[in-house]
């Protein structure tokens, strides 16, 4: 019976598990991929996973602070995407490829 109720009654834990799965997928993308743009996309995935858990906690605890934090996270994510893509463009200009192994040549 427990399995049936787990399928039918969606609660905070379901959203947390969804968030955890999404975060883990993003983490594996950051660790396994070599393309810098896909790495940045995986970082966006992780940020979105955290946003889901913030909003879920905010709803189930009746506390709007979580949604305010999601605002801040979204702003930081947009800024991070802009700066990261600028760095990727500068790497591409120099090496004609966007692979993460060129990051070590970035200085100077």
């Amino acid at each position: 019976m427990q399995e049936i109720s787990l399928l039918l009654a969606v609660g905070l834990n379901h959203y947390l598990i969804l968030s955890a799965i999404l975060f883990t997928i993003g983490l594996s993308g950051v660790l396994l991929r070599r393309n810098l743009i896909v790495v940045m996309m995986s970082i966006e995935l992780m940020l979105n996973a955290v946003n889901i858990s913030f909003v879920a906690f905010s709803k189930y605890n009746y506390n709007p602070e979580g949604q305010v934090i999601v605002f801040f996270v979204m702003t930081i994510a947009a800024a991070e995407a802009a700066v990261g893509l600028a760095i990727i463009v500068s790497i591409f200009k120099r090496f004609k490829e966007v692979n993460i192994r060129f990051f070590e040549h970035l200085k100077g």
Partner: protein, 185 residues
């Protein structure tokens, strides 16, 4: 089976399958399009959690602005094929996958520990009463969100404004150095 339940499972499918596609597909353009799908799914998840304003912001900022930025940069690069999609090395690859597994295990363990005490609702606080009343009356919580943002978190909001200005100037400076994005040196 209630409508909310069906919606949740459908949306979790919509979120997770394109997220897997982002990591697994070797063409970065397909990854970007899958990421758009994931972002739309996350916006819908926000809507099911009664965060309608955040759902709109998610659609506008992520699928509108950030993803367009990604796709524009991808088009700038002309990457039809992605040489060496995944990282080399059997040992390091195994270590990375093991690290991801440990992370997943930690998360599942934390959640299953948390199920023993499912909620941290502060009963009886004025904020909880206000929000419960708003949820009961069917009103959206955009007003409460705005009050919280502009009255209690004003400093953070202004610091974010300054940060965005710095980021805008820095990005332009970074991408204009040595001839801009169209340099053919």
């Amino acid at each position: 089976m209630s409508m909310d339940t069906v919606l949740f499972w459908f949306l979790s499918l919509i979120v997770i399958v394109p997220a897997l596609a982002v990591v697994l597909l070797s063409n970065p353009v397909y990854s970007a399009l899958s990421l758009v799908m994931t972002m739309v799914g996350v916006a819908a998840v926000f809507a099911t959690l009664n965060a309608y304003f955040l759902a709109g912001v998610q659609l506008i900022v992520y699928t509108g602005a950030v993803m367009v930025l990604f796709v524009m940069v991808l088009m700038l690069f002309d990457l039809k094929h992605d040489l060496q999609t995944f990282s080399r090395g059997k040992v390091s690859g195994f270590l990375k996958i093991a690290g991801v597994g440990v992370m997943a295990g930690l998360l599942v363990g934390a959640i299953s520990l948390a199920t023993k005490k499912p909620s941290l609702i502060v009963e009886g606080s004025p904020l909880a009463n206000e929000l419960a009343a708003a949820a009961a009356s069917g009103a959206d919580n955009t007003k409460i969100l705005a009050e919280n943002l502009f009255l209690r978190n004003m400093l953070g909001f202004e610091i974010l404004g300054v940060l965005l200005l710095v980021i805008a100037v820095g990005t332009v400076a970074l991408s204009r150095s040595k001839g801009g994005t169209h340099a053919r040196d």
